[in-house]
């Protein structure tokens, strides 16, 4: 019987570990962006390697969680939603990794005057995802608190949009000295950072529905 086996305990630990990886990945991402803007490439490479390791650990945990849920028939009625939520959250850490890789490979030339704006953009975008993690944890322990936690995700996502629009406006309307290719490249990099909050919002939409269903 499940109560007498370690399966339940292991699965809970794995889910918690998965969320820890996402949480930590978001923190490291912020630090990596700061290091890149400060041209501290050694730190940036260290942070990139860390995010890479966290992403691979999250992938492994994701597969393991899904396997255990199927083989031991755990959460049969919520399995599809929980799997979808974990997939969505894994997308976030995947996006962190690919975004840092874009920085590493393409080495975007970000004008120093935009450093503050870029830091603000990455922090706000990451905050949306950071607020998602406690909401996802709450789904498992106190589902009736999920929706109030998700409000912050939506708030940070819309803030990210505003900041991104602001930076793009500066680049395309005020920085006449930059050529069009440079501007397009910066827009592409902004889009990558902004994508994190979009993914957080997508997961939040799913989580919100899941919370309603479980409370019914």
């Amino acid at each position: 019987m499940p109560v007498f086996t370690r399966t339940t305990k292991n699965l809970i630990l794995k889910i918690d570990e998965f969320f820890d990886d996402i949480d930590l990945g978001l923190l490291v991402f912020k630090e990596a962006i700061k290091a890149f803007l400060e041209k501290d490439m050694e730190s940036f490479q260290r942070h990139l390697a860390k995010v890479d390791a966290l992403e691979s650990s999250a992938d492994k945990l994701q597969r393991s969680i899904e396997n255990e849920m199927i083989t031991h028939s755990i959460l049969p009625q919520h399995k599809a939603e929980v799997t979808a939520l974990i997939d969505e959250m894994d997308e976030i850490i995947d996006a962190l990794k690919s975004s840092l890789n874009e920085f590493n490979i393409e080495m975007p030339d970000i004008p120093t005057s935009l450093n503050k704006n870029f830091i603000s953009l990455s922090e706000t975008s990451v905050s949306a995802a950071e607020e998602l993690v406690p909401a996802a944890r709450a789904y498992f322990k106190a589902p009736y608190t999920v929706r109030e936690k998700l409000l912050k995700v939506y708030y940070f996502e819309s803030e990210t949009d505003k900041i991104s629009r602001g930076i793009k406006k500066i680049i395309f309307q005020e920085m006449k000295e930059l050529d069009l290719a440079h501007k397009a490249h910066l827009r592409y990099i902004i889009h990558h950072v902004e994508n994190i909050s979009d993914l957080a919002q997508k997961a939040a939409d799913l989580l919100s529905g899941m919370a309603i269903k479980i409370l019914m």
């Binding site: 019987m1 499940p2 399966t7 755990i74 049969p76 009625q77």
Partner: protein, 413 residues
């Protein structure tokens, strides 16, 4: 010959096991929270235990309704009930074994000129109505309690579901016990007055004549569960699965409690001791109690679209099943008596039994008891082997999963 006459009872037991086990484990199996193998083993064991330990109460009431005093009569009555259940199930009509057997007994009473005890009959009919209502009340109360507990305890969803899963197994076992205790009367009740077997002693276990009959009936139900209930659990059980897992647990527990209440003599005696009226020991339809429970939860959740068709079908079943079964029993008894010249029973004179009948009972008694003794040993050995086989399979599954996981990550590296 004696054993041949028991076949109709065993057939009735088989159909009860095939149909009613889904009420106990249907939701758990259909939602894959409990595997069919595990459910079938647990249900089979506990149905037999419940029938042997606590089957006497409800059987006594059926005996008061009509004491079928010849084996030929018991055979025909059980067969009429079994055929009614089978045919009505085939046409997807809601049917209860309890109502079928009551109708068949009344048919026997009419055929043999015995009067039907109206007090017992009204007691039984009242329980058909109160069973689902009680099921609904229990379901609402238990559901409220469980919801409050879940909100206050802050248990991790995975852990809570694992408790529910374990709960479904325990409650299922209790449900199977109550099903055996309450519904064995339907299967073997009509054979009690016509059988008088020798007491059976196997070391730690001693079974009287009635308990031996209940054991046989219990085995019949268990065979029904193992051989045919998988399909029913996956289809009929699926309609209950629409509820959440905790609601399913509550509904099964409510059903088990109702069936237990209507078959526990000690609980009834306790009621009398504290000055309350005794609880009638009556076989109740488990399916109808389940429907009561589901409707109860629907009402609690504020569902406005209650399916009145189901309620109507149950009410129709209260009348249609006993009438159909009674008519069939009457016609079958006529054929058995006049065409096959089999003694189907006679008008009961209090305290008098024909010398022939007693001789028939006693000669067959020792023989049947001997067979039951070996059957019991066979069931025990089979049960132990099934348990060992189950644990080995579970272990193999876990090891295979671990290996495939390791292999996957090795290949990835």
């Amino acid at each position: 010959m004696i054993l041949f006459f028991l076949i109709s009872g065993l057939f009735l037991g088989w159909s009860l096991g095939a149909n009613d086990a889904s009420n106990v484990f249907g939701s758990a199996v259909a939602s894959r929270m409990v595997s069919f193998r595990k459910a079938a083993i647990i249900a089979s064991i506990f149905v037999i235990v419940g029938a042997v330990i606590q089957g006497a109460g409800a059987s006594h009431t059926l005996g008061k309704l009509g004491a079928v005093n010849a084996i030929g009569g018991s055979f025909t009555v059980a067969l009429a009930a079994a055929v009614t259940v089978y045919v009505m199930t085939k046409f997807a009509l809601p049917v209860s074994t309890t109502q079928a057997i009551v109708g068949a007994i009344i048919g026997w009473n009419i055929f043999t000129g015995n009067s039907t005890d109206s007090r017992t009959l009204s007691q039984i009919v009242a329980t058909w109505v109160s069973g689902p209502i009680l099921g609904a009340v229990f379901a609402i109360l238990l559901y409220m309690l469980l919801k409050k507990f879940k909100r206050a305890a802050h248990i991790h969803l995975v852990r809570f579901e694992s408790y529910i899963k374990t709960g479904l197994v325990i409650v299922g076992a209790f449900g199977a016990y109550s099903l055996g205790a309450n519904n064995i009367a339907n299967v073997m009740g009509v054979f009690i007055p016509a059988f008088n077997l020798h007491d059976l002693n196997i070391g730690f276990l001693s079974l009287n004549s009635n308990q031996q009959l209940f054991l046989l009936g219990g085995i019949g139900i268990a065979i029904g569960i193992i051989t045919y209930s998988r399909k029913v659990m996956k289809t009929v059980g699926g309609s209950i699965v629409e509820l959440s897992s905790e609601a399913a647990l509550v509904v099964v527990l409510a059903q088990a409690l109702v069936l237990f209440i209507f078959s526990s003599t000690s609980l009834s005696n306790m009621f009398v001791k504290i000055g309350l009226p005794p609880i009638p020991m009556v076989p109740v339809s488990s399916s109808q109690v389940i429907v009561g429970g589901v409707l109860g939860i629907g009402l609690y959740k504020g569902a406005r679209n209650i399916n009145f068709r189901i309620l109507g079908e149950i009410a129709v079943g209260w009348v249609a099943t006993p009438v159909a079964s009674g008519l069939l029993a009457f016609v079958s008894l006529f054929f058995m008596k006049n065409i096959f010249s089999i003694n189907v029973g006679s008008k009961t004179e209090p305290g008098i039994n024909s010398a022939n009948q007693i001789a028939e009972m006693m000669t067959g008694g020792a023989y049947v008891s001997g067979i039951i003794k070996y059957l019991l040993l066979g069931v025990l050995i089979f049960g132990i082997l099934a348990l060992i086989f189950y644990f080995l399979l579970e272990r193999k599954k876990t090891i295979e999963l671990q290996k495939s996981e390791e292999k996957f990550w090795m290949n990835l590296k």
